[in-house]
Subunit: 327 residues, 2 copies
Amino acid sequence: MSLDEFGLIERIRRRTGVRADIALGIGDDAALLQPQPGQQLVVTADTLNAGVHFPLQTPAADIGWKTLAVNLSDLAAMGATPRWCTLSLSLPEASPEWVDAFAQGFFALADAHDIALVGGDTTRGPLSLSVTAMGEVPTGAALRRDGAQPGDDIWVTGVPGEAGLALSLWQQGRLDVSQPSADPALEQLRLRLARPTPRVEAGLALRGLASAAVDVSDGLLADLGHICKRSQVAADLLGQALPASVAATACGDEVAFNALRATAGDDYELCFTAPAALRAQVSESMSCVAVRATRIGYIRAGSGVHLSNEEGVLQAVAKRGFNHFSG
Amino acid sequence: MSLDEFGLIERIRRRTGVRADIALGIGDDAALLQPQPGQQLVVTADTLNAGVHFPLQTPAADIGWKTLAVNLSDLAAMGATPRWCTLSLSLPEASPEWVDAFAQGFFALADAHDIALVGGDTTRGPLSLSVTAMGEVPTGAALRRDGAQPGDDIWVTGVPGEAGLALSLWQQGRLDVSQPSADPALEQLRLRLARPTPRVEAGLALRGLASAAVDVSDGLLADLGHICKRSQVAADLLGQALPASVAATACGDEVAFNALRATAGDDYELCFTAPAALRAQVSESMSCVAVRATRIGYIRAGSGVHLSNEEGVLQAVAKRGFNHFSG
């Protein structure tokens, strides 16, 4: 079955509602949006390519979710309120069933965060999905990478490494990414890879508390390294303090999980720093948004990321994580 | 030669300068931008895929130019001032030479219109380029597709059809898109395809004059059809009034040009409507920005686009232009 470009756009456009901050949505040469006074615009763009950023077998609905999730995660790391996005969709063939399933996953997450799709296009080509997400933050209130100070605590949300373990289990043939697993622990790991939770509410709650933040897309060490580099500080990470994974342990993969949790990417958790004096407020604010947050180390003067081993001895570690063009 | 993702980003980031409307550029999770009070944000996204939107032989610098041009053209059609953009670049292999040439073409046009690259990513994949462009327009002043009124003149800038003729000559093996042509007329046609001129200044000059506007990307009839549909009016196009192409005539292709000038896409000219009472002001404003503008018909009550033949008889015409998924 064939479906023309305008038909594809129309299928997606139907999902976009009417809002006061959208003077003109999809259907003209461009959208007309109404920014709020006193706010800065927060803009990020990320692309997912089939076979590079997700296994080819990934269901369309999961691809739709993840395409938006990776961009919302960047807005979350800035402490921004999501507002609008554009979507460029390259498809090898026009399949209304695929587009509808993709849209189902995309809008499930979009609706949860009230972000409106206001433009984009569909083109013929290898499966590729580019989103530019826009949000707003009160002027001066954004969480940046360059504000970490010696003495700050280092925190992380959720359980970094679970998405990486899921990918590893898929590569071993132990996890099917194309459908839900009957095993609850495996299913939890599959969802961490297929349907990552962008920590938007945590980012908003951290305004005025966190001194720096980054989302964990390339791995904890690599992304914390970005904070250190931009803030011109060093990080001491306590290996024993990194969050354990109940699901990994249930699958009998505790050792494998522990080996990759500091370096695996794709979790889209937040790693942030905050003054030690605000420790109680940080804990309380994360409880309020029902997000697990764990203190995993300290910022000090110096440079680089240092990870303590089981004996508590700190060692400098490579700062590189997942890199599409490396190797 | 290999070049990691961060190296590619760094090559591009170096080209981005410091501006008052950019609080934080490339290098954090997202950019922080400062919109102007009293302005609406104008947002558009367009993707170009190799082999679909440009011949595979197209030089990288021309691809860079065109990737931005098609998006600036959408901002122009809204009467917007270009401000910021993001770029998602999928590359089959990391080639610094290719990226530098691409950036040369991209920034030649970006600098001319003072639009800043503030984000994006590079990924491994088939050659594909997605831009989201952002501009600003005073609240209520945007040129839209839905404002055409019966009695309005229909205008077009430049010479629509020249890009289409160039594509046809390339398909016939008469034009080499990979290098400049020694023949000045052929070269003019090649440049219309390879380096289209987004009519940004014309769009700005038409604020307060044009009642509706659209950019000619899918063909004059198809794009004028969008204005008619959104404005709920009909258009009578005078075939004899459509701009002639000096270059096409010089190449001996006047007949071929005349046959496709109403339907060929890829010109990125503006088609707009304006009250007949403002005819002199429109002419003067287009002269001020050194853009050729031609009156080519009239808006009336009714629906659809109607084109007069050589005897001056109006005929309803199909409204479809280039459509990536049709056929």
